[in-house]
């Protein structure tokens, strides 16, 4: 069968981390500020936005993959980008999957601390901006939990990256889609090895993320 475990495995792991890492960065940069704003501010239509986010959190990744595929297809709206069947499409799909998770969980973490903390720090002389930042900092455990949850979700999903990436050997094959190939071929031993690799990779990534949370705490 094509695909030796040795050097190819490194390639697959690197791509897995690259794709999910990039998608997580995008989702965090967009989702944390949005979630913070939603948790801090009260505006008309807030329930609707909250519902949209909660629905987004529950979207099956393969459905997101399908919509992303249709959009990025050459006969689709964004076809001219030529992203389909490249890692960029995978990053895009996973960013869409991760975004509502990050934004929604950040929003609820911030909303939980918002009222009492905000009143208190305003009374201590914080400006509106300073108060918002302090509330966000107070919610940091919830926010990092949101990021960790989103990462776990996207690094373990297979439906979206399979559809928009095509599982092309050497180009768009990640750990989850590689597991599918070996399972399909009946090579369960290899599939298990890849599965364990995925678990180890996720574990290490989470260790790093939690370290980051610890650094923030000691400010």
């Amino acid at each position: 069968m094509s695909g030796l475990p040795g050097p190819d495995l490194l390639e697959i792991v690197a791509l897995t981390l690259g794709v999910s890492g990039a998608a997580l960065c995008i989702a965090t940069l967009a989702g944390v500020p949005l979630g913070a704003v939603l948790g801090l501010v009260h505006f008309r239509g807030q329930r609707l936005v909250t519902l949209a986010l909660y629905t987004g959190m529950g979207l099956p990744p393969v459905v997101v993959g399908l919509f992303t595929y249709l959009a990025l297809s050459r006969s689709g709206v964004l076809g001219s980008l030529d992203w389909l069947f490249t890692p960029r499409a995978m990053v895009a799909a996973q960013a869409v999957i991760a975004f509502p998770l990050v934004a929604g969980l950040t929003m609820s973490a911030v909303a939980a601390v918002e009222k009492p903390v905000r009143q208190q720090v305003i009374a201590l002389g914080a400006s509106r901006w300073q108060a918002a930042l302090t509330v966000l900092l107070e919610a940091r455990i919830g926010v990092t939990a949101a990021i960790v949850a989103a990462f776990g979700g996207i690094i373990s999903e297979v439906g979206a990256v399979m559809l928009v990436g095509g599982n092309i050997e050497g180009e768009t094959r990640v750990l989850t889609t590689a597991i599918v190939v070996y399972t399909r071929q009946g090579d369960f031993a290899m599939a298990m090895a890849l599965g364990l690799t995925l678990i180890v990779v996720t574990f290490v990534a989470n260790v790093l993320l939690l370290q980051l949370q610890g650094r923030l705490r000691d400010r």
């Binding site: 009492p116 009143q119 720090v121 305003i122 009374a123 201590l124 300073q130 900092l137």
Partner: protein, 242 residues
């Protein structure tokens, strides 16, 4: 000789939530540098009054003047920053005790003087807890942190809502010493309390609030020993157990 202008003046100030009127003050002046105790039963409107003085919310109707200027819905930040509040149920931030104390200084962009903070920690008996996570402290410790936090940046006005409710006598003494110290430095202080003896110890004047209205206000000794209003007499004697 004309009396100096009061720091706070409230005229026909009413505060209502929904249809309920919680505060209805015909007239109240608070002089610069005085310590005013606001006494009354729970739910009388003491907390609401303090919130108005901290500019957390505007009154539903009526006028509020501070330092000669009429206060609209949102006073400018520098004005707001001259006043500090210790809430009845204070919220400490998820960081060390020292960092909590320094918060007011940091948001004002003022350099944190380590020695001053240390002195404050000592005065409150919090020195051994300086590096502890504030969230993990007991109710009484949190209350003292809240007091220290409100004092650290030396505000012109100090508002305290039941500041020693959770404290044992020794710590009550520590906090009251600090309040007196700030009074000596010229701060204007308003203390909401239902402890009559505390009012007697700290205040120049006492105001009695019942059902959102100021029943009587006057110098401490008069209010406690020779009150004019029968309700004052009843309240003061009823609370003598404190």
């Amino acid at each position: 000789m004309a009396a100096p202008e009061p720091l706070y003046r409230l005229e026909q100030v009413r505060q209502q939530y929904g249809g309920r009127v919680v505060l209805d003050i015909g007239h109240l002046d608070i002089a610069r540098g005085e310590t005013l105790a606001v006494i009354g039963p729970s739910g009388a409107g003491k907390t609401t009054l303090l919130r108005l003085l901290q500019f957390l919310e505007p009154p539903s109707s009526g006028a509020l003047w501070f330092d000669g200027g009429r206060i609209d819905a949102q006073p400018p930040l520098p004005v707001r920053r001259r006043v500090s509040t210790v809430f009845q149920r204070p919220v400490v931030l998820n960081r060390s005790v020292r960092a909590n104390l320094a918060y007011g200084l940091r948001v004002r962009g003022r350099h944190e003087d380590r020695k001053e903070i240390d002195d404050l920690l000592d005065a409150l008996g919090l020195a051994p807890l300086a590096q502890a996570h504030a969230r993990g402290l007991s109710g009484g410790e949190i209350q003292r942190v809240a007091v220290g936090r409100a004092l650290a940046f030396d505000p012109d006005v100090l508002l305290l809502d039941e500041p020693t409710a959770n404290l044992d006598p020794r710590n009550v003494r520590l906090v009251e010493d600090l309040i007196r110290q700030r009074h000596a430095r010229g701060a204007t202080i308003v203390v909401a309390t239902h402890q009559i003896f505390q009012a007697r110890r700290l205040a120049d004047r006492i105001a009695l609030v019942l059902d959102g209205q100021i029943v009587e206000v006057g110098p401490t000794s008069e209010m406690l020993d020779r009150p004019r209003d029968p309700r004052t007499r009843a309240f003061v004697s009823g609370e003598m157990i404190y």
